[in-house]
Every structure is written in C-alpha cells, then in structure tokens.
C-alpha cells in the first residue's frame, strides 16, 4: 500500500462550549499509520489544541480508547488504510462525561471498577507446563482487563441507566468470585446484586464484542446471575448459602 491522504473528521469540544462540533483534517498515511499516530500528526502539524489520551502505543495500557467510524477501538492498533474509508470519523467514548475533544472523564468508570477490589495480578494459566526457574513457584500475569472503557461506551443499557455498574466493573466482580485471592467474594456478589447491577444487563453482548482483551464481560455478568440465582434457591430451600 502506498502513501495516501486520508480525511479525519474529529469531534471537538472545549470547556464552556454548549455543543461539540467536528473539524476535518487531511493526514498523509502509509501502510503502517495507526489512528493514534494520525491523530498525533494532526496535533503536531495542524492543531496543537487537539486533546487525546494515550500511553503505550501497543494495546496494553487501555488509555487510547475512542470511537473510530462508530466502533469502539484502541486507536493505537487501528490501521488507518485497512479501515478502507476515505473519511475516518473519530469521536470520544460514550457514556462518560466529555472533558475535552477525545478525552472523557474516566472517574465514574474507575469509581465503580475498583469497588470489588479485584487483585490485578493472577497466576498464569497459560504455561502450566513451562519450566519455572529455580526459586520461582509459578508464573504470574496481570488480569486481562485494560480498563479502557470500550465496553462501557458500547453498552446500550449504560446509555439509559447512569447508575448501571457496567460491564467492566461487573467482570471484575466475577473475577473476585471465581478467584478471590484475598478479596471478598461475598461483597462482590452483594454489590452486583441489585437493579443497577447484574440484573440490569439485557444480554446485548456488545461489551464482549468490543473488548480488545478477551475479558468477556457479558459472560461474567451471566455467571454472576447464575451464582446469585443458585444462592437464592439454596436459601429458599434452607440449604445454607
């Protein structure tokens, strides 16, 4: 693929404005240009006031999530030319308060996400057969969730219930139930057990579709429901917890 000019239509919003608008920029791209690199080029060459979040540039920090052509994606791993559209529409994540341009306030997300107190490091299940060097008991790795918020942006229920706990936080709650590692599964279960929690989900599975890191929040929510249902039945029939 050769060099090509691609038009970027970017949502803009600054403090004090009542409604956002779109600005268009033309960016020279080659076969390796990612959406994030293109946006940084706009910032460098056309408009230094364009604000966006990013860190690692390789899909592991979860900070560069945005909507590209209407789909929630990590902009650092989206190849612009492979999108195949003459214009690329870039918008901030939905269901989060907008701060400036492509930057949304992630505080409501993290407020919920940290509630179940999921330990972030877990034992790696990928290499059970691997030779562990002397003195090391087992390999560990980080939890899958990048805290990118793509799932929250894509969830239709999140859009109509501002108090909904949301897919990522409930996936974290299920991880605590499935593998407590010192956290309190009872708390996590009770926390998700309400009309803004796991029962609010309407099985659209959009969270799982957009998740870039195989967290599968929809299935985690269904697992929470399954566990809660089991416990309620046991309680009704006097079988203990």
């Amino acid at each position: 693929m050769a060099e090509r000019d691609v038009v970027f239509k970017v949502l803009r919003y600054k403090q004090g404005e009542t409604v956002p608008h779109y600005d268009t920029f033309t960016v020279k791209t080659d076969e390796n240009t990612t959406a994030l690199v293109a946006l940084q080029a706009i910032r460098r060459d056309d408009d230094p006031s364009l604000t966006l979040r990013h860190s690692c540039h390789h899909g592991s920090c979860g900070t560069c999530g945005m909507r590209i052509n209407g789909e929630e994606q990590l902009s650092c791993v989206v190849n612009v030319q492979e999108l195949g559209t003459p214009t690329v529409v870039v918008e901030p994540l939905q269901n989060a308060p907008l701060v400036s341009d492509l930057v949304v306030d992630m505080a409501p997300f993290f407020d919920r996400y940290t509630q179940p107190e999921m330990p972030y490091v877990r034992q790696s299940e990928f290499m059970p057969e691997a030779d562990v060097p002397d003195g090391i008991g087992h390999y560990t790795r980080y939890e899958n969730c990048l805290e990118c918020g793509l799932c929250v942006s894509a969830c239709p229920v999140m859009g109509s219930d501002a108090s909904y706990l949301g897919p990522a936080a409930m996936a974290a709650a299920w991880r605590v139930v499935a593998e407590p590692r010192g956290s309190d599964p009872e708390f996590a279960l009770n926390w998700a057990d309400n009309e803004h929690g796991c029962w609010r989900c309407h099985v659209a599975y959009e969270c799982t579709e957009v998740c870039p890191s195989d967290v599968n929040p929809a299935e985690a929510i269904m697992s929470l429901r399954g566990e809660l249902t089991k416990r309620k039945f046991r309680r009704v029939f006097g079988l203990g917890k």
């Binding site: 939905q94 109509s160 599975y205 959009e206 929809a218 299935e219």
Partner: protein, 134 residues
Amino acid sequence: MQEYRTTRDGVRGERPLQAWFDVRKRNLGSWAFAINRLTGMGLIVYLVLHLIVLSTLLQGEQGWDKFLEIARSPFFLAFDIVLIFGILFHGLNGIRVALIGMGIGAKNHRSLFWVLMFIGAVLLVVSAWKVFTI
C-alpha cells in the same frame, strides 16, 4: 487542580432512545436488544388499543359487529401479522435472555438466537396462513 466542567457526549450521551436504537456498526445482540424494545413498546400500545376496542362492546351488538367488519379487512389482517411477529419475537428473544441470564447457552448466544428465530419464522408463516384462510 483547576476545576473542569464535563458535559455528556453530545453525540449520544443522555439520549437513551438513541443508545437503545442506534445499531449502526453494532452486532447481533444489539439488534436483538433494539427489536426487543421496539416490539415491547408496540405490544404495550397494542394492549391499550385492544382494551379501547373491547370497550365498543359497551355500545351493544351493533357497535361490535361494525368493528368486526373492519377487523376482517385485509389491511387489518396484515396488521395482525405484524402483531404476531411482535409477540413471537419478544417472547422468543425473552426466552433467550432468560436462558442466558441463568447461564444456559451463554457461550452459544448467537446460535440460540437463530434457533429461536427459526422457530419464530415457522410459527409466523403458519399463523399468517391461518389468519388469511380461516
């Protein structure tokens, strides 16, 4: 730190109807979700209409007969098919949501959708045939 004021995303936030029904670039689950809401609302409207229509019985036999005449017109019968579609979709998708919610078929939610929709389509064709031939 300087205080900043946030706003909702002007494109979609705080527009719940758009959040439910804007299925552009979305996947099967969102389509099922949106159609489920639409049919749900449609069925509520139908229920109200149904009660209003039943109230014509209060006007005695004449009023009711007049209504039956209209109800047998092809336009009204076509409306019945739309109604049956709404009932079938909402009911069958509801079964899917309930099953998945209990952890049954969560891994195969797409196949579950299509199997139920196939059953729905067969029932819809049979009902349409009955509606127009009885």
